[in-house]
Amino acid sequence: MIGRRGPQNGKRALEFPDVGESDEPLLVVENLHTSFRTGRGTVHAVDGVSLTVAAGTTLGIVGESGSGKTVLARSIMGLLPVRDVIKSGTVHFAGHDLTAMEPDQLREIWGAELSMIFQDPMTALNPVKRIGIQITESLRLHLDMDRKEADATAVELLRSVGIPSPEQRVRWYPFQLSGGMRQRVMIAIALACAPRLIMADEPTTGLDVTVQAQILDLLGKLQRERHMAVILVTHDLGVVADRADEIVVMYAGRVVERAPTRTLFAETHMPYTRALMESIPRLADPSGTRLQAIPGRPPDLIHPPKGCRFAPRCAFAQDKCRESDPPLRTAGSPDHLFACWFPLVHGTSTAPSASASASAAGDTTIDPGPVVQSP
């Protein structure tokens, strides 16, 4: 098995105290903004996102296509293009501010402390290199292993991600593998140096459901064995429902709801989160059940609408929603944040026009807690 970086590694310039033991979260992202200058105008892809991830836990990031999930993931990693990008905010990983680091310092961390599994395994793997080489490269770079040791470790890693006959497969090229196997190889590469955080950007989108379940189970198992933290990015709430400890829901570049997984499902406050849940076909529903599709599309991120960005598609939108932007705040439990003027309470909207049935249902008031972040 692969050990942690041992004392033999004298190259390491940065010290990484094991914050797993302390109360400090492993990752702290504060007020992150990322925009792109384009011919049409400035795209505000990530617009003031804050989140934390504790060591060994899983954070799910969920949102529709174009909501800014990948840009957020790349902004956290420090993997953004240099040109035409405007960024601000901080990312602290194990106490270090990644946003203040030089590229060569970041390169030292990528793979070793913090690694990423990309949305599309075919383009992320190098098509003309044998998969074994692609795994050993980072082992030799970060862990200072000699060739023989690295080769043996690569075989072990492929075995641990469930690839049969790994001794032969290390010599294969990516095109010789199925989509599911390629994603396993990506996981093996991401795991190679035993990082403390894995960023998985839609690791199973495009794979079929059986392979998806296998890959996610594998990731969960390795995470428990190695006490890794995982950020799991997906458009499908079903994927994170039983795998994430906490979920962040994104809409149009912003966090609109954030809560421990069970709380998010049991006490959904934001109409958008509810709408995402209801758009998924459930096996238990009779065939022919009409899906609660969200009408329309996410807004243009160059000229986002005034007020709540979800208002044009929200079934409960009021004048207030179209006028002013709801801040991210808490109510009741301090770890449940949401950005909505008329949150759902016990499944019923607190919006005035929706309150005919709501008042009959009784307790639907909500005491606003402190504002966590103003828009």
């Binding site: 458009h235 499908d236 039983d242 998924i280």
Partner: protein, 346 residues
């Protein structure tokens, strides 16, 4: 009620009057060097007028090949496809072209299936141009009303090109194009697999509406059983080129009899954190269709496999009215009964 026993032990297909499509002992093989890819192996099913038949199974099990054989884009190696009593493989090219206006197909990747250089209204008008239907004005009217039917604004969208649209909008455009020739039968090959969940829901609802509005019969192919079940009246489950179970959608969900169907159900991500325990992901990969396992093709991954499973191929047989399964030890109430008498059909 019409029985669905076409595939049992080689008996003659019992096509009832309302059968639109009858697939009998369909085999499709591909040559790969000196070997043969057994993509579809002896598959039989019928589709009744006005129903949606779902076809589900994991990547590589032969769903698309079956779909392509239905429209004869992929000529079958053997077996037949009958559309309203006509054997499609016996038709001349001209006759086949005519039938094809009645059978249309839509594909998984909406963006690449549309010509990027053409304007949306020309793409949608294509079938009318090919079939030389209507005057210029009539064509333009038809394009407008069809775009409206699929939820695309003809005024703002008609002159734009596919790249300017999202995946969901491109899928709407390709659905509009498929409906232009006035088909009776629509074959949808993974029409929502590339879309995100909210757009997926929009397209599934749209297909249900269009089906009612244009009295369509549908074959709906996908790998996600929850999606397939939502739109289908009956579901056929495929595994490695074989049909392993066929039943009414709700019946299949309530009493899945094939261990593979059970595994497929377990792999669906349910948006409910309380459902944790239900997880039992299928282990291993789909075996190679170059050299399928002997006996039951699922035996290499089946938790209930017994020696008989390697020796004899389980034939599709009826376990309840309208519910067929190909397994020596079908599940009853969620459990395999390996002590049961083996498949009487063997």
């Amino acid at each position: 009620m019409s029985t669905v026993s076409a595939a049992t032990a080689g008996g003659p297909p019992s096509a009832s009057e309302d059968t639109v499509l009858s697939v009998d002992h369909l085999v499709v093989e591909f040559k790969s060097g000196r070997q043969r890819v057994h993509a579809v192996s002896d598959v039989s099913f019928q589709v009744r007028k006005g129903e949606t038949l779902g076809l589900v199974g994991e990547s590589g099990c032969g769903k698309s090949t079956t779909g392509r054989a239905l429209v004869q884009v992929q000529p079958p190696t053997s077996g037949s496809v009958n559309y309203l009593g006509q054997d499609l493989s016996a038709l001349s090219n001209r006759q086949l072209r005519k039938v094809r206006t009645k059978i249309q197909m839509i594909f998984q990747d909406p963006i690449s299936s549309l010509n990027p250089r053409r304007r949306v209204k020309d793409i949608v008008a294509e079938p009318l141009v090919i079939w030389k239907r209507g005057t210029k004005d009539e064509k333009a009217d038809k394009v407008r009303s069809m775009l409206e039917a699929v939820g695309i604004d003809p005024d703002t969208a008609g002159d734009r090109r596919p790249q300017e649209f999202s995946g969901g909008q491109c899928q709407r455009i390709s659905i509009a194009r498929a409906l232009m020739a006035g088909p009776d039968l629509l074959i949808c090959d993974e029409p929502v697999s590339a879309l995100d969940v909210s757009v997926q829901a929009q397209i599934l609802n749209l297909l249900a509406d269009l089906k009612a509005r244009f009295s369509l019969t549908m074959v709906f192919i996908a790998h996600d059983l929850a999606v397939v079940k939502n739109v289908s009246d009956r579901v056929a489950v495929m595994y490695l080129g074989k049909l392993v179970e066929l039943a009414g959608s709700d019946d299949l969900y309530r009493s899945a009899a094939h261990p593979y169907t059970e595994a497929l159900m377990a792999s669906i991500p349910e948006p409910d954190p309380e459902q944790k325990s239900a997880h039992k992901a299928l282990s291993g990969e789909l075996p190679s269709p170059l050299n399928p396992p002997s006996g039951c093709r699922f035996r290499t991954r089946c938790p209930y496999a017994a020696p008989l499973c390697a020796e004899q191929e389980p034939l599709l047989r009826e376990v309840a009215p309208g519910h067929q399964v190909a397994c020596h030890f079908p599940l009853v109430g969620g459990k395999a009964d390996t002590s049961a008498a083996p498949n009487p059909a063997d």
